[in-house]
């Protein structure tokens, strides 16, 4: 990064940190800049990395003119801006929904079924026993068609609730770790790249 870029990034970082004190206009300006830049960056990257290269290479160079069919179908989405023709925008939408559902149904079950298969384990270690108890009782917690008044259901669901709380605690711990890491990343930039007070390897 050039010195100017570093200064802009540092000022925007500090502007965003002002939110920690309280909501303010400086923070909002920085936030809006970030949202606008992210949208523009996304458009440029999509054009530059894919659309432009598809036109110049796949269409013009390799002559794969069949690409024009999905491109034409996709462009129909913009008929939404023309009241007379906006019904045409449903064609690409229905294609996406149908294709997406079919695609997901074809591939996604496998990874979950592998999880189910993995849950059939031998009770030959304490870890496996704990795993089985937590799995069974967590499922009992979300089993709403049998009343908790039946023998064992309430006990099972309560153990399941504790198992879920342990899991949520682990997630919270990792979230804290992650947030501190993000703050460290900004400090690395501010104290190292910007102010040159610390040299990072």
């Amino acid at each position: 990064m050039s010195a100017t870029q570093t200064w802009i990034a540092a000022i925007l970082t500090l502007a965003l940190f002002t939110y920690l004190y309280k909501e303010n206009s400086v923070y909002r300006v920085a936030e809006h800049i970030m949202v606008g830049l992210a949208a523009a960056h996304g458009m440029v990257m999509t054009w530059d990395n894919y659309i432009k290269s598809t036109i110049t290479t796949s269409l013009l160079k390799d002559g794969e003119w069949s690409f024009l069919i999905p491109i034409a179908i996709g462009l129909l989405i913009y008929t939404r801006y023309m009241p007379k023709w906006q019904w045409l925008s449903r064609i690409p939408m229905s294609y996406w929904v149908g294709y997406g559902i079919g695609y997901t149904l074809a591939f996604t079950p496998r990874q979950f079924l592998m999880q189910v298969i993995d849950s059939f384990i031998a009770m030959d270690s304490l870890e496996n026993v704990v795993f089985f108890i937590c799995l069974a009782t967590s499922l009992m917690y979300f089993f709403f068609t049998v009343s908790r008044e039946y023998p064992g259901m309430n006990v099972g669901a309560t153990i399941g609730r504790y198992a879920i709380m342990v899991s949520l605690g682990a997630s919270f711990g990792n979230t804290v770790q992650g947030r501190i890491s993000l703050f460290l990343g900004r400090l690395q930039f501010l104290l190292g790249d910007w102010l040159h007070l610390i040299t990072f390897k």
Partner: protein, 269 residues
């Protein structure tokens, strides 16, 4: 009991900033179930193997994932493993390219022969699936800079994201799309080993996949990056930041204990 949250922020900032200026040098132990297994997967690969790296994150996660990427990419270059990078996230392509260029320069490696970056391609799962069939066509025959793939010698060996070509898939993931797309369309169906670098918040949700063998190893956040730096004997940024991270955690634990004592004391009244 009410404490202004800004007081907590100030304490946290002080505790995190001081060790950056005055490092304590707290030891870093390697997690045998996560980082060590990730390391072992790459360590067992012979030189010349090709690995696929997905860099699916944005600047918000780069503090955790950049050090991971740098350490693993360095490990690959040290072992002569070739790397093909690809991003399902727009910002992930530019960020990861900068990291890899730095490491590549330090190690005297050559772009196009030792590694290639295909850049960002839209479509997430569909794009990944297209890579399985034909990497060149799915990339519109160009890399991140628009260079024709035919001019990059490494890409002559990489026609498809399949088991015959790719020895291992590595994904740096901060959300969706990410490792799930690789698990669904590549590694589970084709039997290619998957390892991942995760932001810390993702880790509990990925543990079942480690247990079932759908992932062979995992690096967890900045801490995992420091562990990996230790494994490749190249302590770097993540190691330097570990004192601050550890003291930050310690302070949070103290606040949680104090908060609970306060809660119990208030309830008794």
């Amino acid at each position: 009991m009410n404490v202004d949250q800004r007081v907590i922020y100030v304490f946290l900032a002080i505790v995190i900033i001081i060790p950056l200026f005055a490092p304590i040098g707290m030891p870093v132990s390697v997690n045998q179930d996560l980082t060590q297994k990730f390391f072992d997967v790459l360590e067992k690969l012979p030189g010349g193997s090709i690995v696929w790296m997905g860099t699916d994150y944005s600047p918000g996660s780069s503090a955790e994932l950049n050090p991971q990427l740098a350490a693993v990419f360095r490990h690959c270059m040290m072992k002569g493993i070739k790397v093909v990078l690809f991003s399902q996230w727009q910002e992930g392509a530019a960020i990861s390219r900068n990291v890899c260029v730095d490491v590549s320069k330090q190690m005297g490696k050559k772009y196009g022969e030792d590694w290639v970056h295909l850049g960002y391609k839209p479509g997430s799962g569909v794009a990944v699936r297209a890579m399985v069939q034909d990497v060149w066509k799915a990339s519109a025959n160009v890399d991140i800079d628009g260079t024709d793939l035919s001019k990059l010698p490494l890409m002559a060996k990489v026609k498809a994201l399949d088991k015959a070509t790719i020895a291992c898939v590595i994904d740096y993931c901060s959300g969706s799309p990410g490792d799930a797309e690789y698990r669904t369309y590549v590694t589970d169906p084709l039997g290619i080993p998957l390892v991942s670098g995760q932001v810390a918040v993702n880790v509990p949700g990925r543990m079942p996949y480690l247990r079932s063998g759908q992932q062979k190893g995992m690096i967890s956040g900045l801490r995992g990056a420091a562990e990996y730096e230790k494994l490749i004997k190249n302590p770097s940024t993540a190691t330097q930041l570990m004192d601050a991270q550890s003291l930050g955690h310690l302070l949070i634990i103290v606040f949680i204990v104090l908060g609970n004592i306060g809660y119990v004391a208030t309830r008794k009244k």
